[in-house]
């Protein structure tokens, strides 16, 4: 396109024209915009800066309101800021601060212009440059302009100085080494008399301290002075924030500061300051009774206020204090519960958190009832919020607060039926988890599962599918507690299961299979018993006085249960008997249905065959495979048990499969893997660098020979024999010895080993071969199992003792990996510490010891002046040195990063005069 003519310049549309034009466009807005952008593209190339700046301004407008891309105009913006004309400059800077970012390629071109403007005599030009730097400063820009910013920090104009202070925040963030140059001067600003300066500087320190409070502890005296003296609420709020961060690090500081804070709380009328005081106390000063009391009183004022903001903040403050001082919440219980039905979703959410915080062992039933009722009435989003918080509260610390698991399981069932419920995943996990952990609740669990499975309406709700999958699994796994296994099979194979996703259908099929095996096995035993006279004697012994009316069919069931229980837990069989007896008392006939006739078994087999037949052609491989397995099995059994005769082979097969299924599954610790000692000869630490070389030449034979190599062969052999070789396997590897060391150090967190030995027989952890009854330290997976009460279960709430909940040793060896903070932050705080603690800097040439220097900083202000001068000198000298320093910058940074431990070890000492 040709360069713009004079006509273009003279008849250029102004910003106003465009805005008016846009407002008059009804429909063709985008067409108009693209036309304007076309114009702008032409105009912006003009050599006349005036035309250019107007074009740029128009583009900026379109970018800010209509998000039109303006990155292509970056260079034109730079041209505008280099204009001597202030209005062009202003337009240019606005465009730059709106559109530039780290990836803008021409950003380095503005360094010189920024430097020039920062040094300008016109304070407004300086301010434009500072604003721009605060917005777009990159590491390079900040590094190059640090000297100028440093100079401006002592500018005589307040207007410039406070902006420079604001910019320091960005500069420190991007270029931590700037701390070495600017920090002293920044600290001096704290002493300033001008409230704007103090306000700005405190704002900067507040931001810095929120990232790494420890580094700023030495400045506490300065902040304390401001806290006591200042009457400016803006400043006080920031200082309070700083103290909220510092106080937990230094108890002496907290003691000193808490009184002035209370003083502010009593004195102030400003709600913002009041709230900040409250928040500071409830977050960081929870040990100071009187302060907490005072703030709780103030929170109460907030709660009863008509202003929804204050109400919300009051609730928020309560939820901060709740973990430490629950009484504060209980005191305001009424308001909190009333807020559950507030119009404002924020208030509702906050009060929900508080209500949940109030839940304890004694009131969990009542509160959950209230909450579930609320959830029925509320909108889907809040409903799920409520359900989610009930679920997460109840499963806290392995269901710590739940005593009556029967109640909880039926609550889970009830929650699944709430129309808006979308918490399928959590309910699924908890149903299975409880099933595995709490033995006593299994009958109820199966009942709840059955109710869910049997309802065809639930299958249509995709949110419930995961719950149904859990229900199916539970019913399959604990089918022995079911009264009507056949009914379960029917439920699992009902036609509407076709609505389920394949992954869940597989669970259904597998569960149906388990139930089938159970039925067949019971049938077999029952036949044996009828044939065997011994069985009836056993019946006489076992069912003495518990179910006199029971027939041989019941007995057929009983040994079945016993046998399977004996497999893993002799003690427990008694317990199951108790359960059984209760059921029997209530409804003998129900149990009778467990008895299987030949006909019922054949019917069952037919049913399964009929339902799974079509699935053997399912496109989903998993469904197909499982249903084929089941069908194959059914086929086999059908042939073998024809004419009411069960062949030896069939009963053997059934026994074997049944044995496999009765293998107990238990919860597995997250750390289980770590507990397996690494076998001899397995080199986990060995560098895999060689692998590259081997894989480099892609020849197949070589890689095969590698995988066949001795280390692998050995390891396989060793890992197979883990249980046996455990005793002799020595803690050869590094990790094992580390673990041992850790245990020695934190011995009290581990259970005494003798106890574990006795418990090991009781309840084997999951995935442990039966042979693991020997005493190995796998038993540490179990936290103590209280003695089981032999009392029969009762429905009443209080009379029932809490059932045993199997726990894993959570929080025991959970490897806590501290989140690594941003390296930039590390660099920044290292630099700050260096400055504050006066670690000698080579370029400073000031070999005064850390301690004395530190003292001079806090204690004797008079002695500051020479230092000040000194730092001024640095400032001047720095400019020259800057360049040479940068060359080494990278190297230095690395060094610092390597030695963060040293720095951290130097705990800053707070001058005693304060404390």
């Amino acid at each position: 396109m040709a360069s713009p003519s004079l006509m273009d310049t003279l008849f250029q549309r102004t910003l106003d024209d465009i805005i008016k034009g846009l407002r008059h466009q009804q429909a063709g807005e985008s067409a108009f915009i693209s036309k304007v952008v076309e114009e702008i593209r032409r105009e912006i190339k003009s050599t006349d800066l005036h035309t250019k700046s107007i074009a740029l301004q128009k583009l900026t407008y379109l970018n800010s309101i209509y998000f039109i891309d303006m990155s292509w105009a970056a260079f034109h913006a730079i041209e505008c800021i280099s204009s001597p004309n202030f209005s062009h400059k202003k337009v240019g800077y606005l465009a730059i601060s709106m559109s530039f970012n780290e990836s803008t390629s021409v950003i380095l071109l503005i360094t010189n212009q920024l430097r020039k403007d920062l040094k300008s005599n016109n304070e407004f030009e300086v301010s434009l440059a500072l604003d721009c730097l605060s917005r777009i400063g990159t590491a390079d820009l900040c590094r190059d302009l640090t000297p100028e910013v440093f100079t401006l920090l002592s500018s005589s104009k307040v207007f410039v100085r406070k902006k420079a202070i604001g910019v320091v925040l960005r500069v420190f963030g991007k270029y931590p080494d700037a701390v070495r140059v600017c920090f002293k001067r920044l600290v001096e600003c704290l002493d300033g008399t001008d409230p704007q300066i103090v306000s700005a500087v405190v704002g900067v320190f507040c931001e810095l301290a929120s990232k790494d409070p420890r580094s700023y502890l030495p400045l506490a005296p300065e902040f304390y002075r401001i806290l006591v003296d200042s009457r400016n609420n803006w400043v006080l709020i920031k200082v309070l924030k700083i103290f909220a961060k510092l106080a937990p690090l230094e108890p002496r500081l907290a003691k000193r500061v808490v009184e002035p804070i209370c003083e502010h709380m009593r004195r102030t009328g400003a709600k913002s300051l009041m709230f900040e005081c409250i928040r500071t106390v409830v977050t960081s000063f929870t040990d100071y009774e009187s302060a907490v009391k005072l703030s709780v009183a103030k929170i109460r004022d907030f709660l009863v206020d008509d202003d929804p903001n204050l109400k919300y903040l009051g609730l928020h403050a309560l939820s901060i204090i709740a973990p430490n001082h629950l009484w504060a919440v209980l005191e305001n219980k009424e308001v909190v519960i009333k807020s559950l039905s507030d119009d404002d979703p924020n208030v509702k959410l906050e009060s929900l958190r508080l209500v949940v915080a109030m839940v304890s062992e004694s009131n969990v039933v009542e509160i959950c009832r209230v909450l579930v009722n609320y959830s029925l009435k509320s909108d889907p989003e809040f409903c799920n919020e409520i359900l989610g918080s009930i679920l997460s509260k109840c499963c806290q610390n392995v269901y710590e607060i739940i005593v009556d698991f029967d109640w909880y399981v039926s609550l889970l069932g009830e929650m699944s039926r709430i129309p808006h419920c979308q918490k399928g995943e959590e309910i699924e996990n908890q149903l299975i988890d409880i099933g595995m952990r709490v033995k006593d609740v299994r009958p109820e669990l199966v009942r709840v599962g059955r109710d869910l499975l049997i309802d065809p309406a639930l299958l249509g709700n995709s949110f419930l599918h995961r719950i149904l999958s859990a229900a199916a699994w539970v019913c399959g796994e604990y089918v022995e507690f079911s009264r009507k296994p056949v009914e379960l099979v029917e439920a699992l194979l009902q036609p509407r299961t076709s609505l389920l996703p394949p992954s869940i259908r597989t669970v259904y099929i597998q569960s149906a299979f388990k139930i089938l095996i159970f039925c067949l096995h019971s049938y077999l035993l029952q036949r044996e018993n009828i044939a065997d006279d011994m069985a009836s004697e056993m019946l006489g012994l076992k069912s003495q006085g518990e179910c006199s009316g029971s027939s041989a069919l019941v007995a057929g069931k009983a040994p079945a249960r016993q046998e399977q229980d004996e497999g893993f837990n002799p003690r427990d069989s008694n317990k199951s008997y108790e359960d059984l007896s209760i059921i029997n008392e209530g409804d003998v006939s129900a149990l009778l249905e467990k008895g299987f006739t030949h006909e019922s078994i054949v019917n069952l087999l037919n049913l399964i065959e009929l339902a799974l037949g079509p699935l053997s052609g399912s496109p989903d491989v998993e469904v197909q495979e499982r249903s084929k397995n089941v069908l194959g099995f059914v086929d086999l059994i059908k042939q073998e048990i024809s004419n009411g005769f069960v062949s030896e082979r069939a009963s053997k097969i059934i026994d074997m499969v049944h044995d496999a299924f009765t293998e107990e599954l238990g919860p597995v610790s997250v750390n289980a893997q770590e507990k397996v000692p690494i076998p001899d000869g397995l080199m986990l630490k060995e560098s895999l660098a060689d692998l590259d070389a081997i894989c480099g030449n892609v020849q197949l034979p070589s890689s095969i020979s590698f995988s066949m190599g001795s280390p692998f062969g050995e390891s396989v052999g060793a890992s197979v024999s883990i249980p046996q070789s455990k005793e002799e396997s020595e803690p050869s590897s590094e990790s094992t010895s580390l673990l041992a060391e850790h245990r020695k150090r934190h011995g009290l967190y581990y259970l005494p080993s003798e106890k574990n030995e006795t418990l090991a027989n009781d309840y084997p952890p999951a995935n442990d071969p039966k042979s693991s009854d020997n005493t190995n330290d796998d038993a540490q997976d179990l936290v103590k199992l209280a003695d089981k009460s032999l009392l029969p279960k009762r429905r009443s709430n209080h009379a029932k003792p809490r059932p045993v909940v199997v726990k894993l040793d959570e929080g025991d060896v959970v490897p806590f990996i501290a989140k690594k903070s941003d390296t930039r932050d590390d660099l920044l705080s290292d630099a700050v510490r260096d400055i504050l603690l006066g670690v000698e800097k080579p370029d400073l040439g000031n070999p005064s010891s850390r301690r004395s220097k530190h003292r001079s900083h806090g204690k004797e202000k008079s002695r500051k002046s020479p230092e000040k001068k000194n730092s001024d000198e640095i400032g001047d000298g720095e400019k020259e040195k800057q360049k040479s320093r940068h060359r080494h910058g990278r190297h230095k940074t690395k060094q610092r990063a390597e030695g963060p431990l040293n720095v951290a070890a130097q705990t800053p000492v707070i001058p005693d005069f304060l404390l």
């Binding site: 800010s64 209005s87 803006w234 924020n346």
Partner: protein, 161 residues
């Protein structure tokens, strides 16, 4: 600190955006869409804070405009409400009972005023008078510069170049 400032009209049109934390253009669009969805639908008698993606958004409605500022979790919400009010008062003083149209036609001035109020996401000037004075001084600088540029001699110089 304040992460961004948004001015949204009741119809969901954006009137001003200022980003103190890095957001790409895509993210900006998403943020605006999300927040205007949340904020514009809130009723009049609810509290002025919205929890959003781990941040808090403080908003206040003045006539047809919503002023929103996004802050960190532990920043003081009431203080930010005051900052918003402060900004509105300054705008009001500057434009003489400000309305949405003023901000539409003088969008750059709204930015300049905001720049005097906040820097790097922190409040830098709490005095209305000072801000007004600074803005006036800069305006007059701009005016003189403009006059110079649009003087006849300048145009002739341009034309004859």
């Amino acid at each position: 600190m304040i992460h961004f400032v948004l001015l949204i009209s009741r119809q969901g049109k954006v009137r001003l955006t200022k980003w103190y934390s890095p957001y790409s253009q895509k993210e900006r669009n998403k943020v605006i869409r999300e927040l205007s969805g949340v904020i514009l639908t809130r009723g009049p008698k609810l509290c002025n804070f919205v929890e959003w993606r781990g941040y808090k958004v403080v908003y206040k409605r003045y006539a047809s405009l919503y002023f929103c500022m996004c802050i960190d979790q532990d920043d003081n919400e009431l203080e930010v409400l005051e900052i918003i009010h402060h900004y509105v008062e300054i705008l009001d003083r500057y434009f003489g009972s400000v309305c949405e149209l003023d901000l539409i036609f003088n969008f750059h001035k709204a930015y300049y005023i905001l720049d005097e109020l906040l820097i790097a996401g922190e409040l830098q000037e709490s005095s209305k008078k000072t801000v007004a004075r600074l803005i006036a001084a800069q305006d007059s600088l701009v005016e003189t510069a403009k006059e110079q540029a649009s003087s006849i001699s300048n145009i002739i110089a341009q034309a004859t170049k």
